[in-house]
């Protein structure tokens, strides 16, 4: 952009705008920084009254997050070996012993399995459908596309009633498979719409050339279109993954012990007696951090993803 443009804002304007935006950003980031900071507080510091900004960092929250613990009586303690490492030391200082690993790891893995599984499926199916929609011109196409989009408008709780019944009949309640299928169906609208946009942008000439060279239609799709659409597929995949990663309503209603993902689990982490805020914050930090990193990496495609491809910039 040339500096001579009449639309170029003045220096003062830039300063003014910059200061306001930076101020907003700092305020808006405070809760996130507070979550991360709370993860390193001791339980007592976390509920200190008034709240503590400066505190001695400890990993107790992370230890509590990953272990379950049992209280021991002083005479029981005498019979025990001294703590073997710093983790045991932290626990022993509270008059407890480690009883085993916590559920967090398992719930986190469930999130990974269901997230990646449904992402793979919805991108796979979405790519095929988007290709067909992009390359075959049809009168009813708009209706079908609208139908696909409209599935996203349904409130999850409303659809959950029959899905709950259906899953119960099919034995899909609280299984990874059930959740993968469900999230795939929810994400299909996003992946079809986004991918159709990406595939639309690939010039038709490439395929025609391939067809003339004797490729079958399928080969042309596989060898010509797919590689061209890879960037689009990757960013679509990330958006599907983020949705599945963050989803709460279906997860809380349809999963319990086996296939529960992290979002319904994290708010329920409790420690001895009360809610263990450092552990909750530690769990939240670990869970939120990947998404923050992805967001920063993905910023160029962000807008397209959140608007179902409607805004391409």
């Amino acid at each position: 952009m040339s500096g001579f443009s009449v639309n170029e804002p003045s220096r003062r304007m830039k300063w003014f705008a910059g200061i306001l935006v930076v101020f907003y950003a700092l305020v808006t980031l405070m809760p996130l920084l507070w979550i991360i900071a709370t993860g390193f507080k001791s339980p007592a510091d976390s509920i200190a009254y008034p709240p503590k900004v400066i505190f001695r960092p400890t990993l107790e929250g992370y230890v509590n997050l990953f272990t379950t613990q049992t209280r021991i009586t002083p005479d029981m303690e005498e019979g025990l070996e001294p703590p073997k490492n710093w983790v045991e030391q932290i626990v022993r200082d509270k008059g407890m012993v480690i009883a085993g690993p916590s559920r967090y790891v398992q719930r986190f893995m469930n999130s990974v399995i269901i997230g990646f599984g449904s992402t793979f499926l919805s991108v796979f199916l979405g790519t095929l459908a988007a290709y067909a929609f992009s390359r075959f011109r049809v009168p009813i196409k708009d209706d079908l596309l609208f139908f696909i989009l409209s599935t996203r408008m349904m409130p999850p709780i409303a659809v959950a009633i029959p899905i709950f019944l259906m899953f119960r009949q099919l034995g899909l309640s609280d299984t990874h498979m059930g959740m993968i299928l469900l999230y795939t169906a929810v994400n299909l609208s996003l992946s079809v719409w986004l991918l159709k946009g990406f595939i639309d942008e690939i010039p038709l000439e490439y395929e025609e050339a391939a067809l003339i060279d004797g490729y079958t239609r399928f080969q042309a799709f596989y060898k010509v279109v797919l590689p061209q659409a890879m960037t689009g597929i990757a960013s679509t995949a990330i958006f599907c993954l983020i949705f599945a990663w963050n989803e709460y309503a279906f997860a809380v209603l349809l999963t319990s012990g086996e296939a529960q993902t992290a979002p319904p689990f994290i708010p329920t982490i409790i420690g001895v007696g009360g809610q263990d805020w450092p552990a909750v914050a530690a769990g939240a930090s670990i869970f939120l951090l990947p998404v923050m990193v992805i967001t920063i990496l993905l910023r160029k495609h962000l807008l397209r993803g959140i608007t179902f491809g409607a805004v391409r910039k």
Binding site: F116, A234, G273, Q275
Partner: protein, 441 residues
């Protein structure tokens, strides 16, 4: 990188299919709430694992989600839980819908007698219909609402003098509910050791059962009844909304308005504990299960705290029953092992160990042991409380009854909408409608 991402996704999708199918080993799952006693049960159960060779798996859900998750599990016909330590109010629904196994024959065959357990817990945790010898659970964890107070603050001479001056009697364990409010009022907003403190942390939670479990402690003692004992479903009017009940509800609101920490509008067990442990409040209403934890706390434990049963009111002295029985889920594919567990759990030695390790046995041989009351500073309060318990509805439709009460009471007490009389009149209408839907009327 993109390719490897897709490959990774494919691999994970494949493993997840295996994971979904390969989970059935020889382990038995016990479902309960996630709280201190549950961790003690894990320890206790190691003995069972050793003796039986069955691996125990535990599924603990925190209180605010406990009923939701577990009833969802039962109603969806899930097979997650083989054993369920379910809340006392679920027993009606679980019994009538065949979700729990009836245990009478099993008890007879194995010489387990319900006479060995505290009568209130047998009625509360095991029987359906109530007061008939049909057992669907073995009393597992005896619990009741009681009060914890800051003994160290109460014993400061300057505060004692000031209190006596103001109210004309000694600052100590309150003799009745109105004294309790005086004390809470006395501490509200007071400066202690440089911090502003408040009177009492009470139950006000909206989402699950919190405020109901709290307000009943006032309602019962002022004269609230769940209906005419002779004609329980049809005659609610005049019992649920009796003048005494209205006074009780007004008392709870007055206590909430004058003497609780600001922002305590959605508090249940864990928030009350947080407030108490962080030194915000002089009094705390909570289930007795927290007492071992309070006693062991570095800041408020030991001599800093004392315990007492819910004080009496004009119409008597009652306390809200908590606690659970242990049941076998009908859908289990490990019926024999599950029954074995109950048989093992019902042994007097195991029950004694259970209380020792932080559980709360309901077995008479344990709690009626002469050494019991002095074994822990809170045991006396526990025994007194267990003698005065009353429970909420345990109907199959308990959830609808509870939701109505949560709504009506929270609207009046916390949101300050309407009057106590209107709230309870509304409750009579809601409950009548539920019973009509049920076909009980």
């Amino acid at each position: 990188m993109k390719k490897s991402l897709l490959l990774a996704a494919a691999a994970l999708a494949a493993t997840s299919v295996f994971a979904a199918q390969g989970a059935a080993a020889k382990t038995m799952t016990l479902c309960w709430a996630a709280w201190d006693p549950a961790n003690a049960l894990v320890e206790l159960s190691k003995d069972f694992e050793e003796k039986s060779g069955v691996d125990m798996n535990f599924e603990f859900v925190p209180w605010p989600n406990f009923a939701d998750r577990m009833l969802n599990e039962l109603n969806s016909g899930g097979s997650l839980c083989d054993l369920m330590i379910g809340d006392s109010q679920w027993i009606g629904g679980a019994a009538e819908n065949g979700q729990y196994v009836k245990l009478n024959d099993f008890f007879d065959a194995n010489g387990i007698s319900m006479d060995d357990f505290l009568p209130a817990t047998v009625v509360g945790y095991a029987e359906w219909p109530k007061n008939t010898p049909n057992y669907y659970a073995l009393p597992a964890y005896a619990d009741v609402v009681g009060w914890t107070y800051r003994k160290d603050w109460f014993s400061r001479p300057e505060l004692q003098a000031e209190f006596k001056d103001k109210y004309g009697y000694d600052l100590g364990v309150p003799a009745d509910l109105s004294q309790l409010k005086d004390i809470a009022e006395f501490f509200q907003g007071r400066e202690i050791d440089g911090k502003t403190v408040y009177g009492a942390a009470i139950y006000t939670e909206r989402g699950s059962e919190g405020i109901t479990m709290g307000v009943t402690n006032a309602l019962y003692n002022y004269g609230f009844e769940y209906g005419n004992p002779e004609n329980p479903y049809a005659e609610l009017d005049g019992y649920v909304n009796s003048p005494g009940a209205v006074a009780g509800l007004e008392y709870y609101k007055a206590l909430y308005d004058c003497c609780t920490p600001p922002g305590s509008s959605d508090w249940y067990m864990s928030e009350d504990i947080d407030a108490y442990k962080s030194g915000q409040v002089a009094l705390q209403m909570n289930f007795a299960f927290i007492w071992p934890g309070v006693n062991a706390d570095p800041n408020v434990g030991g001599d800093h705290s004392g315990y007492f049963a819910n004080p009496k009111g004009p119409a008597g002295q009652f306390a809200q029953l908590g606690g659970q029985g242990i049941s076998v889920v009908a859908n289990t594919d490990m019926m024999d092992e599950a029954l074995d567990y109950i048989k093992w759990f019902a042994q007097p030695e195991i029950q004694a160990r259970w209380t020792e390790m932080g559980g709360a046995s309901a077995m008479r041989s344990v709690v009626e042991d002469p050494a019991f009351p002095d074994a822990q500073p809170y045991n006396k309060a526990f025994l007194e409380s267990m003698a005065i318990v009353k429970d909420f509805w345990a109907e199959p439709s308990y959830a609808s009854l509870l939701l109505a009460m949560q709504d009506r009471v929270h609207k009046y007490v916390v949101a300050g909408q309407g009057t106590a009389k209107e709230a309870l009149d509304g409750l009579v209408r809601d409950w009548t409608e539920v019973f009509q839907d049920e076909g009980k009327l």
